[in-house]
Amino acid sequence: MIRIHPHSARGSADHGWLQSRFSFSFDRYVDRARMGYGPLRVINDDIIAQGGGFGMHPHRDMEIITVVIEGQLEHADDQGHRGIIGRDEVQFMRAGSGIVHSERNAGETPLHLFQIWISPKTKGLSPAYEQRRFDAFEQRGTCVRLVGEGGIAIDQDASIDSLILEPKQRIVLEAPAA
């Protein structure tokens, strides 16, 4: 079964410095039919203007993955982690029992990222942070495992792959094993 959710049906927000598109209910965008899919709770498609960002704010019990499409993201948190994340890198932050962090555009161009929230199996885990470079990120025609077995480990039965295709390139996506 295939269901299509067109881009025009996504939620949106325009804060000037931040243009967001929401796959699922988030902030002031609430659609009871779009509250997530299993443990996948948030997919936000954000464009953050130069100099813009989110000040220190808390999270709890969420596996938070940020995939940078263009630009540079600067991260800082109250656990002492600091980092700049670019296009071929993925950031993982386990909020666990509680973490406070900030995110801002550290580059000279708009920052385009996807932020993904996945509910963990286990509540109250110790906060954790990982930032990983994927050398194969730009390869064409190959699924690059970012999160899950073979990628960044999270506390959930979930995976995220990146796939870049050239024009006319074809691939078969196999159904996951039952």
């Binding site: 079964m1 295939i2 269901r3 299509i4 959710h5 067109p6 881009h7 996504r10 598109r21 796959s23 899919y37 299993g38 443990p39 996948l40 997919i43 498609d45 995939v67 499409i69 996807f114 993904i116 996945i118 699924c143 899950g148 959930q156 039965d157 979930a158 995976s159 995220i160 792959d161 990146s162 796939l163 870049i164 295709l165 050239e166 024009p167 006319k168 390139q169 074809r170 691939i171 078969v172 996506l173 196999e174 159904a175 996951p176």
Partner: protein, 43 residues
């Protein structure tokens, strides 16, 4: 989640479109350069 245009069976996905696929293999063909994020979750 697609960026660029891809054909998914008989369906065309364009930037920002999402396809939720349950329990079947699918054929993908890029109509232009495309970048997809593919999520798999246990329910």
């Amino acid at each position: 989640m697609a960026s660029g245009a891809v054909r998914l069976g008989e369906i065309t996905l364009r930037s920002g479109d999402e396809a939720q696929i349950e329990g079947e293999a699918v054929n993908l063909e890029a109509l232009e350069e495309a970048h997809l994020l593919i999520f798999e979750v246990g329910l």
